[in-house]
Symmetry: C2
Subunit: 330 residues, 2 copies
């Protein structure tokens, strides 16, 4: 028995050492030491330590993340827009009239100036032509096929390889700390569901996004959902707190964004009193990724950057704070 006890004693001691070693493992190895990294680690530590005045019970640990520009690349155009343009080209043989019809003519001719001039109305027409007229399963299948082959024009890498390694670490760190992590994006909810589990470890029901109307009907005797060319919900700007309330039903205690589209989400998250975390990713690295903020057409960061100073949000300086940008894939 003595032998036995001493063996148990050794095992117990060993497990204490292992825990201590794990506790000292850096949860954010791709982040340089600095104010941003410290702010994230201090927040997670404060809200998860039992007995801390800022302790938050696990069921209330909700963290929301914008997608484009926060979890993955959004320049020179949103990835979903690249998908839509490719799909217009793919569908063109079935639509000979597009050769003379804007905004499709501009897409087919690669005339980005005319396309930009078509504005929101043009974008809606393109979304209607490329995102509707099929079941959700069919649409998600199309996105998966596209994403497996399409490449970014500058980096010549698949889009799934252009997610931000430092943010993958934040997602994993927060989940390991009892947080439930949600995507809350202006992007299409079903577009994102095609890769959110694989790319971010986020299941479909934890993805909140913009949507078109979906209708239930019986087709050829089969119960079916069908995507219609009609906007249902825009999960951007003031729509983000609304989308969060609708889908999640809890006010987040941490929110991550990178543009003015995230302003209200960060305001609502951090404006509820108590220890809260608001983070903005500031794209400052033209060499390794892109540098843009107040005057950018994609991912404009202007009002939210001003609000960050007033509301004490953490601003991540991509160039200074991130050791690496994209994951190193074998």
């Amino acid at each position: 028995m003595r032998n036995c006890l001493s063996r148990f004693g050794t095992i117990a001691l060993l497990s204490v050492w292992i825990s201590a070693a794990l506790a000292q493992t850096d949860p954010l190895p791709s982040w340089n030491d600095g104010a941003a990294k410290q702010a994230i680690v201090a927040f997670v530590t404060d809200v998860t330590r039992e007995g801390s005045p800022d302790f938050v019970p696990a069921p209330d640990r909700v963290a929301t993340f914008d997608n484009d520009g926060t979890l993955w690349i959004e320049q020179p155009i949103y990835v979903q827009f690249a998908f839509a343009l490719d799909r217009v080209k793919e569908l063109a043989p079935q639509h000979p009239e597009w050769k003379d019809k804007q905004p499709f003519k501009a897409v087919l001719e690669g005339d980005m100036a005319t396309l930009a001039a078509a504005g929101e109305h043009g974008a809606v027409e393109i979304v209607a032509a490329t995102h509707a007229g099929m079941t959700p399963e069919q649409f998600i299948g199309m996105v998966k096929t596209w994403i497996a082959s399409a490449k970014h024009p500058r980096f010549d890498r698949h889009y799934e390889d252009l997610v931000y390694q430092p943010m993958l670490e934040v997602l994993a760190y927060m989940r390991a700390s009892g947080f439930k992590t949600f995507i809350v994006s202006g992007g299409g909810i079903e577009f994102m569901r095609a890769f959110a589990q694989k790319s971010y470890g986020i299941p479909p029901d934890q993805v909140v996004g913009s949507s078109i109307v979906t209708k239930f009907e019986t087709r050829d005797g089969k119960p079916t959902l069908f995507r219609l060319p009609q906007v249902n919900f825009v999960d951007d700007g003031p729509g983000k707190p609304v989308g969060i309330n609708q889908h999640i039903g809890l006010r987040p205690i941490a929110a991550f964004g990178n543009s003015d589209g995230d302003l209200q989400m960060l305001q609502w998250t951090t404006g509820s009193g108590g220890r809260r975390l608001g983070v903005l990713v500031h794209h400052t690295d033209a060499e390794r990724e892109y540098a843009y903020d107040r005057n950018s057409k994609v991912g404009r960061l202007d009002k939210a950057l001003d609000a960050a100073a007033t509301d004490r949000w953490t601003v991540v300086d991509m160039k200074r704070d991130w050791k690496t940008i994209f994951p190193v894939r074998p």
Copy 2:
């Protein structure tokens, strides 16, 4: 060391015994043995056993449950309607005009015939007057306060005590088998979120329901969501598959309902090929609960009962299949 090993051996053997004993523990003790119980257990066994031709990986194990009449009592009126009527009475002093204005006059006078005659239009007016004009947090607080004190007219018990014990066992059994359980109800999403975690162990983000419009605005310098008297989404009938797709993003493999409002949810769930489970709770027990189906105004079960035969759904005969109806509380 020999002592040690034999001790470990004993522990190992003991744990095998315990596992075997647990495996034999009845997961549904409030269900009488019969076709309904067997169908549920056989389904869960078939889709969770590795190597089974019907095996479904855990992330795809989505089960949806209607609330009123499936998880808790819905007679003689929906619980949420009882809440609304009580709230009209509570608000009446601030609305002297209601004394002469229908449908409020009928509510205040307890004139259920006139109230019923006011139909859907009357119901919408009552919902607008009682469910809007506050933040989601305030509304959920009101529901919690009400539910802690209100009692059912016949059973003289709190509504949270009038959940169905056999269904609580199904929820726990399916979760223990790797299912994610969701409520999908025609009831108000925020009404249900006030008690879903406590009553069913279902967190707010796994509740899908009907909703009114919520608006983000800054009030007195504070970011706020505000509930407006305007219908946003009706999660009933053909709305259920739509709501499921929007919130969950996966097609369920099991669905439980009790009325024609669940018809399309069951059709969509069981119509996708593969091993699927559709269950209807048939209220056949006038003595212990209520007996109603084809001609009931609340929870009418007519078309869905016909479809059950064709589509091979499991029909639970409450009187015959359930040993107990409500939980025995200390």
